[in-house]
């Protein structure tokens, strides 16, 4: 809401500078987006009158104007504007003057200086200004001046040569207030004046709505019938002998400051009163209304109606229409029809000042996909009690401007008058919530300053607000009213005295620990969007028919790429690896710990959300085993293990020979798959533009959290030395070494302390299809130093098993 401070001064006394005014309004609840000083940067521009216009001798599109600027001799100015005429009053920039902008020229912070010069061989002693040159935005330039010279409304004969800034009163501050949805009453000058008056302890001055009688009654000209309770009130007044012309400058000035373009006096007055009262108004040409009747009723399904913007709209039975005796002339509170607009030839005007149900206007506007200034005001709520006063104000201004004859009385249909609810608020409750000791008298004062009636005694404040305050419905609303008028700044600062029991989340703790550990291992965290789509799963090689392919769909997505919720983190990780590769980051080790989404088998329940952990890497010394090392250490630290890695050949995201599924034995002995890892398939790598071997793992963090057991049971460091024996053997290439170690451990030898793989060798003299594998096996007893015989006996059991189980050919050490 754009508020001209000068305009506001018509209703309430303000004698502080704009920024100070703004600061205090902010603290009582009217938040501010911007404060703009207007009418600045102009000097040497004066009021002029075009005395004579002659054709430019050398150019068809130029004219030479003789302009009276209050001196003995007129000045001569060349212009290309087409809207000038002899007798027009215009702003004239004299030689050496300064303007904030030049039409068609780039914006310059310091503005432009105007000098005399010659245009196509004719001297020009300055420039005639258009609205833009005096700092007006294109969209508020008065209609008749918008593409030419600013044609000042009215007679400025006695001010020729005066500075325009002074004469027009251009200097003003315009404050853009952020009006919250609970305060539609503040979308008006009077609403803001009420707030300002309360903030500064001033009294508010209401506009003049008095009318002189004309002897003819509105009811003789128009009849109104309301057939739907979607219309709360309909007030109509009739104005005869309307003279359509430019509004006087003081009206135009107000509209321009409020961001509206002056059009003509009748349109301008509807806008002026709308801005003043917040009440949308509409003027019909009475002769376009069949039988001079207005019937407010809902449409029938399938009816059509062509709105002012030329579009034909299909209606339904929820939509409230303004009709004449024949059919619709307007969409109530939204937009009117093509035919009922006033024109230059209009003689008699019907003024509509109505209140329609906000939710109905909102629904209609939404269904038809149209939103207008009026509809957005109706949506937020229009106080029906304002309709008549606003209509009267319009008519008062018509009389003041002398642009029509106002007929007596109004046609006013107001079936169920509305009043603001009276609410009892307790002084004690207000202080309890705020943590204050504000007295009843103080509170009463704050509320009365906001034009509320306060009754009752003791702890009770029985409050009736002005009817425009539709937001005040219960006690808590008055807690806020008192708080903002008391000033949030004045509230004390304390810390809660509360005895809440803290609780701890295992998932949160483990996620933090995981991040710490992974960072320690050199991995950097990424965060990607939670969205997904089938195409990225294709590119990532996620096999068809897997659970990961079953994506949850967003019904109103922003685009195809973000139409679904992710089931995996790996595709985004691949994208990030690709991005980094393209940016020539030669080594990446990254992880993401984020939520993934799966359909719930119970359709009535919300989807399943699980944390996954994804690791990704390329470059440096990264390979399958560096990634495996990180996973192994991480899970060990998280208290999850032992792990088992099983080769996986089918999952097409990965290299078929370099992929493993990862299993953990759960406490009940079950094998739980907790994730998958591997080298990215060359095709997938290519799909994401990663020009290097890449490695990715995706782990199910919710399972990891469940399985995590971080209770530490320490063992004393061994008292007796260990004995170790090495064994080297030749086995089939296809035998995973993990199985060998598992088999050794599964023997359950009481003296076995540790098994370590220390060498794998392929090539001569080992025959093709075979590999040589070497382990160092440690034996230890907690009770004594082992003898060689004891160690040998244990070791022999291992050797026998290896020969038997794997057909291992043992090599001599």
């Amino acid at each position: 809401m754009l508020l001209s401070v000068n305009w506001l001064k018509d209703y309430v006394k303000i004698d502080v500078p704009a920024h100070e005014f703004g600061d205090r309004m902010i603290m009582t609840g009217s938040n501010i987006e911007t404060i703009t000083e207007i009418g600045t940067g102009i000097s040497g521009v004066v009021i002029g009158k075009i005395e004579k216009i002659v054709k430019h001798p050398n150019a068809d599109h130029l004219v030479v104007c003789s302009v009276n600027v209050g001196k003995s001799e007129p000045i001569q100015v060349v212009t290309s504007a087409e809207n000038v005429y002899e007798g027009a009053f215009v702003p004239a920039a004299l030689d050496g003057s300064h303007v904030p902008a030049l039409h068609g020229a780039p914006h310059k912070e310091e503005g432009y200086e105007i000098h005399s010069g010659s245009m196509r061989g004719v001297d020009s002693d300055g420039m005639l200004c258009g609205p833009q040159e005096l700092g007006l935005d294109d969209k508020v330039a008065p209609y008749i001046s918008k593409d030419g010279i600013w044609l000042l409304p009215g007679d400025w004969s006695d001010q020729l040569g005066q500075d325009v800034t002074e004469a027009l009163g251009l200097r003003d501050a315009v404050i853009d207030f952020e009006i919250t949805p609970n305060r539609p009453d503040c979308l008006s000058m009077l609403g803001m004046a009420r707030e300002a008056a309360a903030t500064f302890g001033e009294k508010m001055q209401l506009p003049d709505t008095s009318l002189k009688p004309s002897g003819e009654a509105s009811t003789d000209y128009i009849s109104v019938e309301v057939r739907s309770d979607l219309c709360k009130r309909y007030t109509a007044r009739v104005i005869r002998d309307v003279k359509i012309e430019q509004s006087p400058w003081w009206i135009q000035k107000r509209l321009i400051a409020a961001g509206m373009r002056p059009i003509n006096n009748i349109v301008d007055l509807t806008n002026f009163v709308m801005l003043e009262y917040g009440q949308p108004m509409h003027a019909f040409d009475i002769d376009t209304l069949k039988d001079h009747r207005i019937i407010v009723d809902t449409a029938k399904d399938g009816d059509t109606f062509t709105t002012l913007d030329g579009n034909e709209r299909t209606l339904d039975h929820d939509m409230l229409m303004i009709n004449d005796a024949e059919g619709p002339v307007g969409l109530a509170g939204i937009m009117d029809g093509m035919d009922s607009e006033i024109t230059e030839n209009t003689n008699t005007v019907v003024l509509e000042s109505a209140s329609f149900l906000g939710s109905s206007v909102r629904l209609t506007a939404k269904r038809l996909g149209m939103r207008t200034e009026a509809s957005s005001r109706y949506e937020k709520g229009i106080d029906p009690n304002n309709c008549e006063a606003a209509a009267d104000r319009f008519c008062h201004l018509v009389q003041e401007l002398g642009c029509g004859t106002v007929l007596d009385g109004a046609v006013d249909i107001y079936q169920k008058p509305e009043t603001a609810p009276t609410v009892t608020a307790r002084v004690s409750r207000i202080n309890k919530v705020l943590g204050t000791q504000i007295s009843r008298e103080q509170m009463k004062g704050y509320l009365e300053a906001l034009e509320m009636k306060v009754e009752g005694d003791g702890d009770e404040l029985i409050v009736t607000p002005p009817s425009v305050r539709q937001d005040l419905l219960e006690e808590v609303d008055y807690v806020e009213e008192v708080a903002r008028m008391y000033g949030y700044d004045n509230l004390p600062m304390t810390l809660p005295a509360i005895a809440s029991k803290p609780f701890f989340s295992k998932s949160w703790t483990l996620r933090n620990l995981t991040r710490d550990l992974l960072c320690g291992m050199g991995a950097t965290e990424i965060q990607t969007y939670s969205f997904s789509n089938q195409k990225i799963l294709d590119r990532a090689g996620v096999p068809e028919g897997t659970m990961e392919r079953n994506l949850i769909r967003i019904t109103n997505p922003m685009g195809e790429d973000t139409e679904f919720m992710r089931t995996l983190l790996a595709p985004s990780m691949l994208e990030v690896l690709g991005t980094n590769y393209a940016k020539r980051n030669d080594h990446v080790l990254a992880y993401e710990l984020g939520i993934t989404f799966r359909e719930n088998v119970i359709a009535s329940e919300l989807p399943k959300e699980h944390y996954n952990l994804c690791l990704g890497a390329y470059g440096g010394d990264e390979d399958f085993f560096s990634l495996k090392g990180i996973i192994t250490e991480l899970l060990d630290r998280l208290g999850v293990g032992p792990l088992r890695f099983e080769p996986e050949k089918e999952y097409t995201m990965f290299h078929p020979g370099r992929c493993a599924r990862i299993f953990v034995k759960s406490p009940n002995g079950e094998d739980v798959e907790i994730g998958i890892m591997g080298e990215v398939h060359p095709e997938v790598q290519e799909n994401f533009g990663i020009g290097d071997r890449a490695y990715v793992a995706e782990l199910f963090f919710n399972l990891i959290t469940e399985l995590s057991d971080r209770v530490i049971q320490y063992k004393k460091p061994p008292m007796f030395p260990s004995t170790s024996r090495d064994v080297a053997m030749i086995v089939d290439e296809g035998l995973p070494v993990g199985h060998i170690e598992e088999a050794i451990r599964d023997l359950g030898l009481p003296l076995l302390d540790d098994v370590k793989l220390f060498d794998i060798y392929r090539g001569l003299p080992v025959p093709p299809g075979k590999k040589s594998v070497a382990y160092s096996i440690t034996y230890r007893s907690d009770e004594r130093t082992l003898t060689d015989q004891e160690a040998d006996a244990a070791h022999q059991a291992v050797l026998d098993m290896l020969r038997e189980k794997f057909g291992a050919e043992l090599r001599d050490n």
Binding site: I26, D477, Y488, T524, E525, S530, L589
Partner: protein, 339 residues
Amino acid sequence: MQDIKSIMEEAREQLKKVSTSEEAEELRVKMLGRKGKFTEMLRSMKDMSAEEKKQFGRETNQAKAEFQQMLAERKEAIVKKAKDTRLAAETIDVTEPGRPVHYGVKHPITQTIEEVVGIFEDMGYSVYESPDIDTTFNTFDGLNAPETHPARDVTDTFYLSEKVCLRPHTSSGEVRAEKELSLPYQIVLPGRCYRRDTPDATHSPTFNQIEMMVIGEGITMADLKGSLDYMAKKLFGPETRTKFRPHHFPFTEPSAEMDVSCFKCGGKGCSVCKGSGWIEILGCGMTHPHVHQVAGIDTEKYTGFAVGMGVERIAMLKYGIDDIRLLYENDMRFIEQFK
């Protein structure tokens, strides 16, 4: 036969020439060995009278001791010199780079969440989390949002169905917390949120918020102010001042927005605070009784407050990041600066 004097003379001479441990050993054998000169000297005593023996023995032993002392010193000097030579040869160029150790970096969003959550955990809050996908009841109706609230619009919030949406704010967790937790409680609720905003420098369809919520007996707006003022000082430095401005949210009343004094210029006005000296940080307020009533909480007995803040906004302000998209692009050269 040499006399003791000339032996000492000779020993001194030869000792001067000794420059290695081996030569020193050679000289020791030559002088002190079984056939060494001192040994022979002493052996020659056996035919002397007792008086002579006494005299001769003393002199010889004295000389021998003197030589031994000299030899030991010489040996020590040789060892020291050898050590010095070796150390000198082992000199390294200390300006050569160290072997790289790479520590990973947490995403700046995570760092900001950890910092804020940490401040509230220190104040006795517990972390409570709620799902990203939630019901429209928890998201809007339960939070007192009117039917017409613009956030409900399909142009603002993502929907999975009429009754299920991607939460546009962490406040969706408030109703869950009320129903699940026993009173009184103080919780901090970080999480991802979603809004239908086309990505630009200040908007992202995915972003994070941190919600704070307290319910207890005698909780006041003064408590809200005090708690957030403490947080602001911890987060932005002890000099930070806070300003609470009236605002409107459906789920709190009274509602406020909190500004902090600009941590860049200290409040004098600069480009970060757009000249105002203040930076808007969060929205907050006393929880609306309707929101408590949803969970059947006795609003006469209990009061409470709620706070919601945007994580990206805090991170961007703190680190001077001018484009939110940088946070989701995941360029290592960006993230790894936040160490």
